[in-house]
Structure formats: structure tokens, C-alpha cells
Symmetry: C2
Subunit: 247 residues, 2 copies
Amino acid sequence: MTYCVGIEVDEGLVFAADTRTNAALDDVRVHRKLHVFEYPGQAAYVVMAAGNLATTQLLVSRLKRDAEERRTPNLRDMAHLFEAAAYVGSLLVDSQVQSQHTEHGHDGVNTQATLIFGGQIAGEQPGLYMVYPLGNAIAASPETPYLQIGESKYGKPILDRILTTSTRLEDAARTAIVSLDSTIRSNLSVGLPVDLALLRAGELRISQQLRLGADSPLYADIHQNWSRRLEQAVESLPRFPWEPQDR
Amino acid sequence: MTYCVGIEVDEGLVFAADTRTNAALDDVRVHRKLHVFEYPGQAAYVVMAAGNLATTQLLVSRLKRDAEERRTPNLRDMAHLFEAAAYVGSLLVDSQVQSQHTEHGHDGVNTQATLIFGGQIAGEQPGLYMVYPLGNAIAASPETPYLQIGESKYGKPILDRILTTSTRLEDAARTAIVSLDSTIRSNLSVGLPVDLALLRAGELRISQQLRLGADSPLYADIHQNWSRRLEQAVESLPRFPWEPQDR
């Protein structure tokens, strides 16, 4: 499994992904699921993937090749983000078929993948899409300024409670890390390290990119102190009628 | 769907359950899923159920009848809690079969149910069990002092972060309500009001029992202010290296 979350706020975009891949409980590896495509001054994108690793690695290789060879279409020369999402979707459909070299569904292997794709093209606002295995896509909205793929349930409540379009970019990133950490604690199929990328609106490049392991100060603090912060929050809730009203 | 959580701390037991039952998205009703069995001075129990409503209502009726008619066995005259759990499990298996009046699985209807069962019998410590459709049961442990049934993923992180056996009983109850509220916000199949029961160790009765609707002060406060508390907690996390270190 996998857990990735993308957030779209007024200040820009946040992308966060775990790195655990497992074929079985005893076949666990670390693979990057967050991929950066950067053409400074022109466009910058991030692709995050959940699903079949062969499919998503093939997809990423093709996206890179198309841009390097300036094929038509390619991510570097896109005019509109929704067209870029459609292009990524069509490559995804191709890669799902290509990566199996047999009839669809053969041997019970599922070659499907789902993506979060976002970025900004010069002259446009930043945007964030979820790209489905069929190749179609939906955008994040002001009412729901985030998209999740993979093991999404554990980390959803914190996003629902905190995120609005006016959340500061770095606070959105901290929220994403808490959401990831909650999922990692609760589900073995999602694991450290966490990849994080921030794309500040208008910069037309990946503003910040980092990998957080258990030893990074921010991650360690969340892991060690988040529980205490939540405990204080729970203790600050109203008393029950039968309790002393102050303690 | 359903979401119920039972918590076992040193001070006693907490039970919390939603009340939404749905056969389809357009067939939604309110039904009690938390049932109390109280024999003051002798024993007190709570049963919470997820799954087929016909099965669980039949089970509850039988548990009541057996105790009222002092049949053998019955909840009132149990000597040990693990025996009570086994008795509840065997009645559950019977009720699953009984409630369909046909061969198992007929018409694609699943008559299975899963229970959280807990309580205290005079002379014993309180205890908490999850009873599976097969009739077997597992107990909560000091390392994992809670059990969940139904739509459990959304509400799990807050339990993982906060609960230890030394958590105060009322704080455990507040944590359960936050866990329920997080689930209700994220999943349509879980809904208000919330039923809550507290069983303080040694009292051999249900110490507190209440139903929380959207208008109860505790629930309203969680709903209105929990997000702000979480926001403050997120803002208190360490800065990223590129941010000003104080704000």
C-alpha cells in the first residue's frame, strides 16, 4: 500500500508521500513515490503514485523522455494544466497496459495505478489533480483543498479539521506530515521516510523538497510530542456534568 | 456501517457507539447499538454491535430473556467474565443462523455481526472483549487498551496517540467522543447521536450513561473547537529550516 496527500492552498501546493512498497508482508522495500518535473521559469510539476510500481516507474520514465526529447505533447511545453493532466492520464493508461505485456488482468496481477498530479504553468494558477486508472482526472476544490491516494482513511480527519485555502503553505506541510505519521503508526503498509515537496505559487519551480526520516527534527518532534499536544487538547474539552468543573 | 469503540483503563471501562443504520444511502435510520445489562452489586455489562441489525437485536433479546428467567447460563449468574464472553459468542452464532431462517448466505444477505462486550463481575477486575462472528473472542491488552468495530480507521490515530491504561476514565471518554466525531465527519455511514456508557471499576453498575446529540455542550464544543485546538497544535510544531524560527 501507499499513502500520498496533495494540498492546494492560496500560497501554493504541498505534496507528501510515504516510501514503503510491499508485495507481501515479508517483501517490503523503499521506493520513491514522489517525482519532480521542473522547468524553471516555464513550469513545475509533481507526480505521486499509488498502485503498481512497474506501471508508475514506466510512466515517470516516459514523462521524462517526452520532455527531454521535446516530443509532442510533453510536460515542458504544455499551455494549460488541465491538458497536462489529460496527457499524464493517457500515458498512465498506456503504461498500465504496457507494463503487463499480456492481456489485462492476466495472472491476477493488477497493473493499475492512481496518481496525484499538480503544478503550475507560467501564466496560470497552480492546480492539483487526482488521475484515475481510466486516465480521467478530478481537481481539488476550495471546499476540499486536498486529495489523497492509497491508505487514506487514518490521515483524513486531521486534513478535514485543519485545511482551508487560507492555511499557510508551511502549516499545510506540517498538517500533511501529521497525517502521514498518523497513518504510519496505524498501518504497517505505509512507512518512513516521507518525501515532501512545496511549490509556492508563482515561483515556477519546486520551492522546497526534502526527505524526512525518523531522525529529522520535525518528524521526531511530531512523533514524540504530538501525542502530548493531543492529550492537552482532549483535557481542555468541557467536563461531564458529574465531574468537578475545574481541575 | 457503524463505529463503536470500547476502552479499558485502570479506572474502568468506556463504551461509545454511533446510532446510524443504513441498508442503502437512501435507507438510513437511527438504532441503538449500545446495550446495557445491569445487575447492581452482582455484575454489569455493555454489548455494542456492528453488522446485521436483525441478528444483534435477536441476540440482545435473548441475553435479556436468559437473565430474567434465570436460565443456565445467563449474564446475571456468571462467575467469570471470559465465560460470559464465550456465552455471548455462542448466542451470537445462534442468532446469526436464526435471523435468516434459511441456509447461510441465502439471497446474498450477510447475517453476521461483531461485538464489543465488556463489564465486571463481583470478585473480578473489569474486562473488555471483541466477539467475532465465529463466536470466539479476544481481550483488550495493556499495550492496546481499546477495541473497535465497524468503520474503525478514521478514529484510530487519536486512540493510538492518547490512550494508556493510566488515562483517566473521563479523559478516555472524551477521547472516544473525538474518535467518534472524526469518523462522523469523514464517513456518511456513521452518524449522530452518540451513545456513551462508563463503568467505573468496582462499582458493579453502569456508572454513567448518556446520549450526545449535536446540541449537547460537550459534543458541540468538540465539533466547534477541536479544529482550532488541532490548528494550534500544528502551529506549535518545529519550523522548517527555511522559515523564520519564531513568529
